[in-house]
């Protein structure tokens, strides 16, 4: 009964948000539209973070790496080869997936804070490479003057904030829809099971590393696609767009949104990024203070949202002797307590 009400309410809110997003460019000014377009790109990265952190239980601070790969691939493509949006999108997603696939051996066996630090390192390394590979990336000052994108062959290039925003909205809605559908299949179930108890999943005969690699690459592709949206929205990218701040805020946004929920992550990440960008405009000099207070307040106001985190985030377990793989019998007790 209560469940049904909650589900209904959630559906209603989602529909309202979607409707609001569709009409937004006609009711708000250019600035807000531009801000929203940029935010959508970042929110899509947030979705990929949630896919890994919440659904699969592999917390990540490194989704900026495939995001950057997608963005730079798209920018280089855009300024040298093709200004067609769908081509850029596909190439960006591919670049993100390839980068994620390259890093799979690093992350797939690690868990908890360890992955967090490995992915942080990957993100930082990618930013360093971007800053130094000047012939392609324009160095730390970034790439400016990326030509405007046309969504499809034969259509005109985007000339207004509205057009850019609507393009981003369509792409994000499509990809998020695809993720939601995917999570309703076997794949979603198995990822959640892996998050809950990997050893048990193995004992049932599942190839856990395979699933996690798949999730990692899929998340990389999504982040890559988001990168191409950033290029469209901003027509400028620099390594600063993909720095640690961005990863940290995305992760926090995903936490606020409830970690395991893709819709929540989308909203949470979008909120955090939008609020930050907005604060830097309206409260010059006090944005970090206000943002910090807001984070603290969130923990108190949204205990349900932030407390839904489970799985590998429980204490990383007793330090087992390296020669004795954690006998599942002797796992910590914490997981039993809910």
């Amino acid at each position: 009964m209560r469940d049904r009400v909650v589900r209904w309410a959630r559906g209603a809110v989602a529909a309202l948000v979607l409707a609001g997003l569709v009409v937004a460019p006609w009711v708000v000014d250019d600035y807000t539209t531009a801000l929203l377009a940029r935010t959508l790109a970042l929110a899509l990265v947030g979705v990929s973070v949630a896919l890994l952190t919440g659904v699969a239980g592999v917390p990540t601070l490194g989704q900026t790496a495939p995001y950057a790969a997608g963005a730079y691939a798209c920018a280089v493509l855009g300024s040298r080869i093709s200004d067609v949006g769908v081509v850029q999108l596909a190439v960006a997603a591919g670049a993100g997936a390839v980068l994620a696939a390259l890093t799979v051996p690093l992350v797939v066996h690690a868990r908890g804070v360890i992955v967090l630090m490995i992915t942080l390192a990957i993100g930082e390394l990618v930013v360093t490479v971007l800053g130094r590979w000047r012939s392609v990336t324009g160095g730390t000052d970034g790439l400016a003057g990326i030509p405007a994108v046309r969504p499809f062959w034969g259509l005109p290039a985007f000339g207004s904030d509205q057009a850019r925003y609507l393009y981003a909205l369509v792409v994000v809605a499509t990809l998020v829809g695809a993720v939601l559908v995917l999570l309703r299949t076997r794949a979603g179930l198995l990822l959640r099971a892996a998050r809950d108890d990997e050893t048990r999943l193995r004992a049932s005969g599942h190839r856990v590393p395979l699933y996690l690699s798949g999730a990692h690459i899929a998340a990389g592709a999504i982040a890559g696609a988001a990168g191409s949206l950033l290029v469209v929205a901003q027509q400028y990218i620099s390594p600063a767009d993909f720095g640690f701040d961005t990863s940290a805020l995305l992760l926090l946004g995903v936490v606020i949104g409830g970690t395991a929920s893709v819709g929540g992550a989308l909203v949470g990440a979008a909120l955090v990024i939008a609020v930050r960008d907005w604060l830097f405009g309206v409260l010059p000099g006090h944005a970090p203070l206000v943002l910090g207070v807001l984070f603290v307040a969130t923990v108190y106001l949204l205990p349900a949202g932030v407390d839904r985190v489970r799985g590998r985030w429980r204490p990383s377990g007793p330090p087992h002797r390296p020669d004795a793989p954690a006998a599942p019998d002797q796992a910590t007790v914490a997981e039993l307590r809910r």
Binding site: P318, D329, Q330, V333
Partner: protein, 257 residues
């Protein structure tokens, strides 16, 4: 000593215990039995303060403790052997014992206090595992450690949630003997036990929980004289049927939707 009065408690999902009332006199053993999921552990946890009481009273030595924090309740002399052992996985056995020992807490009722040596004498298997961490112990050893941990806190009220689970039969018998002796020394015991005959063996009273309600609460003497109603309530007869003849392959193994 321990009295529970019209206690209601549960989880976010809903109320589990409905107006449970029990009265355990000092030095006596109250057994609680019931089907899986009846609410036995919930009752124990509520008394220990780990689950919040929604309404009702819990009194220990005449003091109302419902709503207090678990550590306060523990300080007032409640010891807990939880279901599933819950030993500290990173602490060695010796550290467990050191941590649990509260020699300064005077025992209110007779009998000498529990010391590390005395618990090791009772559970010699632990003595040879002193340097092992909780996560390295076998299931039964963990159970022993959980019992030792509770005893060393010098409790006045002992809550035992299936203390013999995973213990070998003779060790289980010894633990029951010990509990009996403790009660004789004046300790108040609440014992959750699945095997009815073992509960009746040592308890002074036995209560049956069904769907979170007390449906039976009598002295065991009565139950021993006429075990039928109690057994019926728990469907004990169904426990271990004789091995049947060849069975046809059941539908379980058919794989068609």
């Amino acid at each position: 000593m321990l009295s529970v009065d019209r206690l209601c408690a549960g989880y976010a999902g809903g109320i589990v215990l409905h107006e449970v009332s029990l009265r355990v006199r000092p030095g006596s053993i109250q057994a609680v039995v019931g089907r899986n999921g009846a609410g036995k552990s919930t009752l124990v946890h509520t008394i220990a303060g780990l689950v919040r009481a929604a309404s009702g009273r819990i009194e220990i030595g005449g003091v109302q403790v419902a709503g207090r924090q678990p550590h306060r309740i523990a300080q007032s002399g409640v010891g807990l052997v939880p279901q599933g052992r819950r030993v500290f996985s990173r602490l060695t056995v010796a550290e467990h014992l050191h941590l649990a020992a509260a020699p300064w807490r005077a025992r209110t009722s007779g009998g000498e206090g529990w010391t590390v040596d005395r618990t090791l004498e009772l559970l010699p298997r632990l003595a040879v595992r002193l340097r092992h961490r909780g996560c390295e112990l076998s299931g039964g050893e963990q159970q022993m450690l959980a019992i030792a941990r509770a005893l060393l806190g010098q409790p006045r009220v002992l809550l035992l949630d299936e203390p013999c689970e995973g213990l070998s039969p003779d060790l289980a018998a010894r633990v029951r003997e010990l509990v009996n002796g403790l009660a004789a020394d004046g300790l108040t015991v609440l014992l959750v036990e699945q095997q009815l005959q073992h509960a009746i063996e040592i308890a002074d009273r036995v209560a049956v929980l069904e769907y979170g309600r007390v449906v039976y609460d009598r002295p065991t003497a009565e139950a021993r004289l006429d075990p039928a109603p109690l057994a019926a309530m728990l469907s004990v007869a169904a426990a271990v049927p004789p091995p049947p003849a060849d069975q046809p392959a059941p539908r379980l193994w058919a794989d068609t939707p």
